[in-house]
């Protein structure tokens, strides 16, 4: 398609779509308007019914807990699929040498990076644990905490060395974390069934409002999500970064 035809077809499409766009734009609710009652209902009910102050967690892990189980399985399936695809070609070993890209030199690691990462890395990981642990009281939760933990662990690679990272962050252990987290979430649902309630009913004592250990069964589910996400993202990072290493190479990192 020549640029001339392309420009004319763009103009034609714009002219045709403009009335529809304008109509939708004018029919939009005012900025900050929320006509649906659900948000207000959750805000009013969750502290009384579930003893938690983070409504997003209350919705994710309790009122719509089954949806989160679905998302959990999706993550598990995605990570498993990516690992199978990438490992199928390459095997599970790790390569010591960085892969080479034509006309891009591998620059040595800056001296300031190692001490900086030794400061930032542990703080990041602890912050991830904090965010994950305080899911019931403050913003954040297992998913966000898990991703922060995974990136905190990745900082070992940035500051030290690829081999050190792979030696500390074992791929097998992270696979196990991913699976165990997803299993924990599912088992929490079956635990309520074994007590005679429906799947994922909150059967544990709810605890006190604003306490870290409030929310009952939500705590177990949150721990499962944190484990699964930290493990899953680390597995993904390992598999993707292993792709950038030289095949069966030895030598300088």
């Amino acid at each position: 398609m020549s640029p001339r035809i392309r420009r004319w077809s763009l103009l034609l499409a714009a002219v045709c779509l403009l009335p529809a766009v304008l109509r939708v734009a004018w029919a939009m609710p005012a900025f900050g308007d929320h006509p649906l009652p659900y948000g207000d209902a959750i805000n009013a009910l969750a502290p009384i019914q579930r003893h938690v102050t983070n409504m997003v967690s209350a919705v994710n892990f309790d009122y719509r807990g089954l949806d989160t189980l679905g998302e959990e399985s999706m993550l598990l399936a995605a990570v498993t699929g990516a690992s199978i695809l990438l490992r199928g070609n390459r095997g599970e070993g790790l390569s010591a040498r960085a892969g080479e890209i034509p006309d891009r030199p591998i620059s040595p690691r800056s001296e300031v990076l190692a001490p900086l990462v030794r400061l930032i890395g542990p703080v990041t990981t602890i912050f991830g644990l904090y965010v994950g642990a305080h899911a019931m009281t403050t913003p954040g939760g297992g998913f966000q905490g898990g991703v922060i933990i995974a990136s905190g662990l990745l900082l070992i690679f940035l500051g030290q060395d690829y081999r050190v990272w792979r030696r500390i962050v074992k791929s097998e252990m992270m696979d196990a974390c991913e699976g165990a987290g997803a299993a924990l979430y599912g088992l929490a649902g079956f635990a309520s069934m074994s007590m005679g309630a429906t799947f994922l009913t909150n059967i544990l004592p709810l605890g006190q409002l604003t306490d870290v250990f409030s929310g009952g069964l939500m705590l177990v589910e949150n721990a499962g999500v944190a484990l699964a996400v930290a493990g899953g993202f680390t597995v993904l990072l390992i598999e993707f970064l292993e792709e950038t290493r030289a095949e069966n190479g030895e030598g300088a990192p």
Partner: protein, 86 residues
């Protein structure tokens, strides 16, 4: 607050346009990360800290890294050592 939100909206539009206009893939990844960062700030200003957290961790840290790793892997020299002459 009345200044903050319009500024963040403008920044969102600007960084989003930058993502669309950048042609080189590695730069585009960086532009996408910048767009993600602005979006995280916007969510924060709109009092949605949970979404801001997710956006920050996934949109600004994890997915750009995976993109960069993929791009590096695509461009890598996979010929075995010693067969580089051409």
């Amino acid at each position: 607050m009345s200044v903050l939100l319009p500024m963040l909206f403008l920044l969102t539009a600007a960084t989003g346009t930058a993502v669309a206009l950048t042609r080189e893939p590695r730069r585009q990844v960086m532009a996408m990360a910048a767009n993600g960062l602005v979006l995280a700030l916007l969510f924060m200003a709109l009092q949605a800290p949970d979404v801001a957290f997710s956006q920050l961790t996934v949109g600004t840290a994890a997915s750009p890294l995976l993109f960069l790793a993929s791009l590096a892997s695509i461009r890598m020299d996979r010929r075995p050592q010693g067969s580089k002459e051409e």
